[in-house]
Amino acid sequence: MEQFNLSLGAHLLLWVFPLALIILVFVENHFDGPEGEPRQ
């Protein structure tokens, strides 16, 4: 039986992009500096 695989672009679109985005969001949040007094 023929085996099918995702193309490279499909890998990037389906899981590499969202994973990289989530990592970036957490990294940005982590290095955003200590939270000071909230500005009202």
Binding site: E2, Q3, F4, N5, L6, S7, G9, A10, L12, L13, L14, F17, P18, L21, I22, V25, F26, E28, N29, D32, E35, P38, R39, Q40
Partner: protein
């Protein structure tokens, strides 16, 4: 969909009733904390990160995320997922560029609506900007509200097992009554809280269902093999598109994200955040919600294509999978999630339309009802009136209004997104540039959209360039007669008409109609803002 037995339908209907009861309860709780105009229009700037974050995202994604987005991957496989990076890039700009700047600016200005932000940022002595912005918002929002009510009516009638025209009418009325009541009583706070509840329901559904469905299918590899055996195109990022059609498609899908900074029902959530720390937390919450929902919807469509080979309409895949795979109570919750995606957008748009009338027109432009209690009462009455108009339009299916829905996302996005980004990041625009940007964005959107289907609308498209010039003449005459226009405003209107006519020429000569209209309209509006500001001064 496959026929559903009556006991399943009864269980699903019972879950729906509980869901509507929760919405009404939240509305009642919010109403008890709503005491004045700023409370009603902006929840007294008291939202925490969760309600501001989820409310902003749930408001921006209407029924398309549980219906249309699912249908995209059902039809096109992995290549149908290009909407996800487009939308998520829009989220990135909104939460990292717009939100942290907009919240303090709006608090310093005392701004309540998007129109307020624009008019107070550049000054608006004769209400030219306020009337223009309010008109664009009202036209787009009323069409949107009516279309969403129609979608809610269809979803309710199918979930509750109501059949025929009577079932559809009943579905519209149930959805409209509940959401109008909740919005009218609790205003912005009720909308934000119900959005939080509904947004979490949507996210839970779009995380749990695809995971469970992939498991039932036999794992991710079984999904890949299943899709490949239907067509190998379903496993590529380009699908069966090649050349200019592929690039046009990708640019168009990525271009969806350009609209987010211009959505009044989305960015007012950032204005209502309690402080900067909540905005910082909101960034993570909104991005995670977006990734979960967009990719969850995409995977549901992919699984649906394999598991439901006989399903004629891919947009029904989520509902069909729910009824096929899980217990009726869970199926009821999943169907409630489909309706939640619609109602969370309706309530937000209803409030924006009502704020445009009661706050921007009656209070600010006409200078009436400035005391807090009268402002609250006026807001509540306006929500009911706007809701009623929405129901009437949905019931009578006025075609002209649904025609405007085609332009709603791109029209709002092009008219306001470049302007909001320029307002927050650069000091290179004056109020005449702002006027030119709004007119150009809205006008180019309409022209380009008409050009997309030149066979069906050849006559309308052919007439559109002189209609643009006629509209410009009418705007200038109204501006002159009402003595609202400064000389530089005339320059703004002429520049906008010129750019709109130029876009008509581009579509005609270069065959660019397949490019999603928001992309050219966004950049031409930004260009109009910068060029007109450069050649005029802010003095009258």
């Amino acid at each position: 969909m496959t026929p559903i037995d009556s006991s399943t339908m009864t269980t699903v209907a019972a879950v729906m009733v509980v869901y509507l009861g929760v919405l009404l309860f939240i509305g009642w709780r919010a109403a008890r904390r709503t005491h004045g105009g700023e409370d009603f229009h902006l929840a007294g700037r008291s939202l925490g990160a969760w309600s501001a974050g989820i409310s902003s995202t749930a408001s921006s994604e209407s029924g398309w995320v549980t219906l249309g987005a699912v249908g995209m991957t059902f039809a096109h496989g992995v290549s149908g997922l290009w909407y996800a990076p487009g939308c998520l890039l829009g989220y990135l700009v909104n939460v990292y560029v717009v939100a942290p700047r907009l919240r303090p600016l709006s608090a310093d200005q005392g701004s309540v609506t998007l129109t307020d932000i624009i008019t107070r940022r550049w000054g608006d002595p004769r209400n030219v900007l306020r009337v223009t912005a309010t008109t664009i918002i009202l036209v787009c929002m009323m069409g949107y509200v009516a279309a969403q009510m129609t979608a809610a009516g269809k979803a309710f009638s199918s979930s509750l097992g109501l059949e025929g025209r009577t079932g559809y009418l009943f579905g519209i009325i149930i959805g409209a009554v509940v959401i109008t009541l909740v919005t009218s009583l609790g205003g912005f706070r009720a909308v934000a809280w119900t959005d939080l509840f509904q947004g979490l329901l949507v996210a839970a559904a779009l995380i749990a269902l695809p995971l469970y469905a992939v498991m039932r299918l036999g794992g991710f590899d079984a999904l890949v093999q299943g899709l490949g055996s239907i067509s190998p195109h379903l496993l590529t990022a380009s699908g069966d598109r090649v050349g200019p059609i592929l690039w046009g498609f990708v640019i168009g899908q990525l271009g969806i994200g350009l609209g987010y900074p211009g959505m009044p029902h989305v960015i007012t959530r950032y204005m209502a955040a309690r402080n900067d720390r909540e905005v910082q937390r909101l960034q993570v919450i909104a991005m995670l919600w977006g990734v979960a929902v967009f990719y969850g919807a995409g995977v549901v469509g992919l699984v649906g294509r394999v598991m439901l080979p006989d399903l004629a309409d891919g947009e029904q895949a989520l509902m069909a999978l729910a009824l096929k795979l899980v217990h009726p109570v869970l199926a009821g919750l999943l169907l409630a999630a489909v309706i939640s995606a619609i109602l969370s957008t309706v309530s937000s748009q209803l409030l924006v339309a009502a704020s445009a009338v009661s706050y921007d027109i009656v209070e600010e432009t006409l200078g009436k009802a400035r005391d807090d209690r009268r402002s609250l009462l006026l807001g509540r009455i306006t929500v009911v009136v706007v809701g009623l108009i929405g129901v009437l339009v949905a019931l009578t299916e006025v075609r002209l209004v649904f025609w405007f829905v085609l332009f709603a996302w791109s029209g709002l996005g092009a008219a306001f997104a470049p302007l909001i980004l320029l307002a927050l990041t650069k000091n290179a625009v004056n109020r005449h540039g702002a006027l030119a940007a709004m007119l150009t964005g809205a006008g180019v959107t309409v022209i380009w959209n008409l050009g997309r289907d030149p066979v069906a609308s050849a006559a309308a498209f052919g007439r559109s360039w002189w209609i643009a010039l006629l509209a410009a003449a009418v705007i200038i005459i109204v501006g002159e007669v009402s003595k609202a226009f400064a000389p530089a405003d005339r320059v703004a209107v002429v520049a906008a008409a010129g750019l709109i006519a130029m876009s008509w020429w581009l579509v005609q000569q270069w065959g660019l109609a397949n490019v999603y209209e928001l992309v050219p309209a966004f950049f031409l509006a930004g260009l109009a803002a910068l060029v007109v500001s450069r050649i005029t001064t802010s003095r009258d």
